[in-house]
């Protein structure tokens, strides 16, 4: 597909509205990133999203955009909360797949000689991949119902915690209020019952990291980030429960969405199938999706408690001596009702973020008080061989991108191409030679997830910073990694 693009500024490009597009497309990318995008279907997907009923502003793409299904990964779309449509494909299968960073008061010198033990303990404690054992006992339907209502608080109340304010340091305080656990099917419950506290596979990971650079001392101080100190980063989501919620809704929707009207019938990709927000099916999905989002927060919170315990045990220290705290926890795959300025007016919209991060600016009351002066922490994982970043939301994000930023590096190579490049190499040994201990379920994961498979995340965050959406606060370099 050949698209005519209009350059709006150094890092902002527009796909002009044409045909049945309801809004224009807007990309936040560099020239070189744009050139790479023309080789797959990601740009076409930005155009497809612009057809969503009720979409306002523009169909947005962050600099980590890559080919997804329905929405591109890195796609953001806000629809009117009254007249718009909710699209499960705009959230994705892994509902509230997200990222959290836990700061500690450990210095790199405290862990350097214990890295092997720490990584081994984390790998033994937190189940990864398919067929892994349970992290905590299998939950009954009643317990799952409580968990899906309470989110992160459910796990905190059961002792899975880092510090005194874990849930308060999560987006939405780790709990969406509209959750309806009764709308989560038995099949979804069956998949999720023994998966709380498990990492998953693919690009999910838990890293032990070192803070190596501070770019914004004021924000870093507010976030509790100091050079040389150790952080933990967890990237995971709602596991099989969330996948099942999305899967079942899409299955149902794919057969009926055309009945919602001509705008719906004309959607260019079945994976974009959506329902009016106010419809019975739309409401049912939103209730179940929010329950699954709470499952994901509880999952990351349980892993937080398990990880802090594992690190303390590996070091032979009491947990309190780690000085661990949740810095922040962000959703990467979500649809949330928020108020934003649209065409000069405050409107309530449903913001779909599919592989994108909320990035609210300074002064916003939805940002935890401790961070309100500097803006929301925006956590951007990179790849397991290079680095990740902590950014802070800027005021411009509120007017440009519905308060959204990128969510990661974005893949550069397909899994097949990555595996070809990894053939004959020992990725584990290559990382060890660079001081990074990695344990994964199988060699395939290491090949698929090696550094070269991803864009350099620094190029991605430099674009988002250059566009004024977020600003760099700190760089985190991996020392130890566990993967599925």
């Amino acid at each position: 597909m050949t698209l005519a693009l209009r350059k709006l500024s150094r890092f902002v490009w527009e796909i002009p509205r044409e045909g049945k597009m309801r809004v224009a497309g807007r990309l936040y990318v560099s020239e070189s990133q744009l050139a790479a995008l023309r080789t797959d279907q990601a740009l076409e997907q930005v155009v497809n999203v612009a057809h969503l009923p009720g979409i306002v502003g523009a169909s947005l793409a962050m600099p980590d955009i890559h080919w997804g299904y329905g929405f591109p990964i890195g796609g953001v779309a806000a629809v009117d909360a009254e007249s718009g449509a909710v699209s499960p494909g705009g959230v994705g299968y892994d509902i509230n797949c997200g990222c959290r960073v836990i700061t500690t008061q450990l210095h790199v010198d405290d862990v350097r000689n214990h890295l092997h033990a720490i990584v081994a303990k984390l790998f033994a404690t937190i189940p990864t991949g398919m067929g892994a054992g349970r992290a905590i006992p299998r939950l009954s339907p009643r317990e799952l119902g409580e968990l899906m209502t309470q989110g992160a608080d459910w796990a905190v109340a059961r002792g899975y915690r880092a510090g005194p304010d874990d849930a308060a340091h999560c987006e939405e305080s780790g709990r969406l209020q509209g959750a309806e656990p009764d709308w989560v099917s038995q099949r979804a419950l069956e998949r999720g019952a023994d998966q709380v506290g498990t990492l998953g596979s693919g690009n999910h990971f838990l890293e032990v990291q070192q803070v190596t650079e501070i770019y914004d001392p004021e924000a870093a101080a507010a976030f509790g980030l100091r050079t040389g100190e150790i952080t933990l980063m967890i990237h995971s989501g709602s596991r099989g429960l969330g996948h099942q919620v999305c899967d079942e809704t899409l299955h149902e929707l794919s057969r009926v969405y055309a009945r919602f009207g001509a705008d719906y019938a004309a959607l260019p990709d079945r994976q974009l199938a959506c329902a009016p927000i106010g419809s019975e099916l739309g409401q049912r999905y939103l209730g179940a999706m929010q329950a699954a989002a709470n499952f994901a927060w509880a999952n990351r919170q349980v892993m937080t408690g398990l990880a802090v315990r594992a690190v303390a045990e590996a070091l032979g220290l009491p947990e309190t001596e780690l000085g661990a705290r949740v810095l922040y926890d962000v959703c990467h795959n979500i649809a949330k009702f928020e108020e934003h300025l649209v065409d000069g007016q405050v409107r309530r919209v449903l913001v779909h973020r599919k592989g994108a991060t909320r990035a609210f600016g300074p002064g916003d009351p939805r940002v935890p008080e401790a961070y309100r002066d500097v803006g929301q922490p925006v956590l951007i994982p990179g790849d397991m061989g290079r680095y990740s970043f902590v950014l802070a939301g800027n005021a411009d994000a509120m007017t440009e991108t519905f308060g959204s930023s990128c969510h990661g590096a974005g893949r550069l190579l397909s899994r097949t191409a990555a595996l070809k490049r990894a053939r004959g190499r020992h990725i584990e040994r290559e990382l060890a030679a660079r001081g990074i201990e990695v344990l994964a379920k199988g060699p395939r994961t290491l090949g698929e997830e090696m550094s070269e498979a991803y864009k350099d995340v620094e190029d991605v965050v430099d674009v988002i910073a250059g566009a004024g959406i977020s600003r760099k606060v700190a760089k985190l370099v991996p020392l130890g990694v566990i993967k599925g």
């Binding site: 797959d40 990601a42 890559h66 080919w67 997804g68 299904y69 329905g70 990964i73 994705g92 299968y93 892994d94 991949g129 398919m130 067929g131 892994a132 099949r187 069956e190 998949r191 998953g200 596979s201 693919g202 099989g240 996948h243 099942q244 999305c246 899967d247 899409l250 299955h251 794919s254 057969r255 990709d269 079945r270 994976q271 199938a273 893949r411 190579l413 397909s414 899994r415 097949t416 191409a417 379920k441 199988g442 060699p443 395939r444 599925g484």
Partner: protein, 144 residues
């Protein structure tokens, strides 16, 4: 006719996820190959033991949607019952009746199959099931 692994298939070069393309002389053969290609992905091509036959039935719809539904059901059973297909016989497969398959199952082994892909879901994105030349072609993208 019952097909057994391995079967020929192509891997779709999707940037973030994984997909397969299969061909068959009949639509039933293409569906059976799709099922066994899926098994190959999740086991990393490792051998599986022969086990009990299981029946999978899905509701009517267009052929691509029915094929997606067959794989959705297999993915659910993998995660909850821990088995993968070893062989596959398609009893019927058409838009009016949906599909009925008899699948020779084998236990999923997390150690032996550690090199397999962990698939989250079967997507409708770019799903194809259609005649091509004198045979049939099917393509499915999985969320990884």
């Amino acid at each position: 006719m019952r097909l057994r692994r391995p079967v020929p298939y192509e891997e779709l070069d999707h940037t973030a996820d994984a997909g397969v393309i299969v061909h068959g002389r009949s639509k039933e053969e293409a569906l059976a190959r799709l099922v066994l290609a899926y098994a190959d992905l999740v086991t990393g091509g490792a051998p599986v033991a022969t086990g009990a036959d299981r029946v999978v039935e899905v509701a009517p719809g267009d052929l691509a949607a029915v094929a997606v539904d067959v794989l959705r059901e297999l993915l659910f059973r993998l995660e909850t019952e821990r088995w993968v297909p070893e062989s596959c016989e398609v009893v019927h497969f058409d838009p009016e009746r949906g599909a009925r398959l008899v699948i020779g199952s084998a236990p999923y082994d997390p150690v032996a199959h550690a090199d397999g892909l962990v698939l989250k879901a079967v997507t409708l994105h770019a799903a194809r099931f259609e005649p091509e030349g004198s045979g049939w072609v099917a393509a499915i993208v999985f969320d990884v």
